[in-house]
Symmetry: C2
Subunit: 306 residues, 2 copies
Amino acid sequence: MRVHLGPDHDEHLAAAIVEGGGTLVPLHEAEALVWHGDVDGFPELPAGVRWVQLAFAGIEPFFRAGIIDPDRIWTNASGVYADNVAEYAVGALLVGLRQFHGSIAAAARPVQRWQKPVLDPQVRMLHGSTVAIVGCGGIGRAMIPRLRALGVDVVAVNYSGRPVEGASVTFPASRTAEVWTMADHFVVAAPATADTDRLVNAEALDAMPDTAWLVNVARGNLVDSDALVDALRGGKIAGAVLDVTDPEPLPDDHPLWTFDNVVITPHIANTRTGLNATLAPTVRENVARFIAGEQLIALVDPAAGY
Amino acid sequence: MRVHLGPDHDEHLAAAIVEGGGTLVPLHEAEALVWHGDVDGFPELPAGVRWVQLAFAGIEPFFRAGIIDPDRIWTNASGVYADNVAEYAVGALLVGLRQFHGSIAAAARPVQRWQKPVLDPQVRMLHGSTVAIVGCGGIGRAMIPRLRALGVDVVAVNYSGRPVEGASVTFPASRTAEVWTMADHFVVAAPATADTDRLVNAEALDAMPDTAWLVNVARGNLVDSDALVDALRGGKIAGAVLDVTDPEPLPDDHPLWTFDNVVITPHIANTRTGLNATLAPTVRENVARFIAGEQLIALVDPAAGY
């Protein structure tokens, strides 16, 4: 099987293609393309290319650019980085609940750095709480055993409402509005689609407990930034940990930077560091499956948009 | 059974004493004392007091003050707060490895707050790493299922070397020196005794991988603060998360505050908030056991010093 690797060479992915049974070829000779770059620079595809493997889990820029056509097989990296992002999301909940952020902020001052009387009463245990995972796909499923070991009860929301293993209850996306009052804390991990744009809006934030922490590991636009600023000003929630923002990167003068109870990480839940090494086993497996005529891992549904 | 509750009333503990079968009485009439205060103000004990329940897990100030005598039964709160502290320690590892601290520090600046190029390469996954729990008692045992669910391999050190369930290997305290080279990250959770004073010294820090994160949830003096400052200056370890310090509280001008890769929380892993509510079930159980003549939970060994 003839595979092109672009936009440039990568030792992990090249080895994976060969190990899966493929041969590295120039694009015009290729039956498949493994593309570990952004949407910028994505090439015009020769007719011979029947399958494209992308290196991202969230591929909406490729949809917006009209690149993903229904005539080819497309696979993404959905689930590949799930452990990595799930681990971040668990850490994010603990950062907020256990007042690590408050301690770090206090330490940045030259005086009164040891703020026990202020911080101690604000600490909350994750143990014994209920966390809703809104958009419980690969990342959410990877979170569940981690959260359960931490003594957390999980409420899942997915598109179909089909029960997610390990969750106490699973709701279909159509009933998301009910979930905001049912959990103590919320992790947003849904794909970015027209339906999930500003999923966490003013009504959602208003419905959450005022002790709730909100974590976003999906895409910035799933949380309405203006509504979040209002909710934080009004004390409607305890705080937020955001790895993705709207706009992104978040401008230096954005009001979200000014809150003590907002932690913003610069889209590093799924790090670029080691990304291709993490993706390599999936590429190897997919090349082997393609050769064997089997169904590939992480198929993109061009109709659904993810 | 006649129990005195001091230094003052507490609804959770008073209810626990009554539910366990006790009657609340003045100290001079008491057979047992439930003391939820510090060492300061600890009363002269009437001869009739045969058992004292303390509300701390680390009770070395009571030993130093000569309060703990071998003629009475003493119990502490060892293990009671284990879930709470274990949860903090897991969060502490994630704060460092996943660069939450770096993100929070960057956000504190007025410009260039979104520091993806700097922070992304510094992120490390907890998943797939080996964590040594040095002093693997109640807190360590509570950490193990949490860490395993996060994909971590655990090396335990305890006094006897008797295998700890869930750890890949358990070392006796006499072989602690070997452990510093065997793990990626280290959690110090040992009791404060003469043997554990400055357990993490210059040699230990030098032996650790330079990518190691060190977490201290035990007592400040288990880590040599001067050696830690030197190790951080020399890049001998990746960073430290300290809930306890030496001295404590850490003075505002202490050099440990100046490192970007040190997170200091003001002794809030085991919060005072809700402390007595957490302790209450143990007090109820111990009162009932004392009445029944059974062995109490969390017995202090006056000879061992914890």
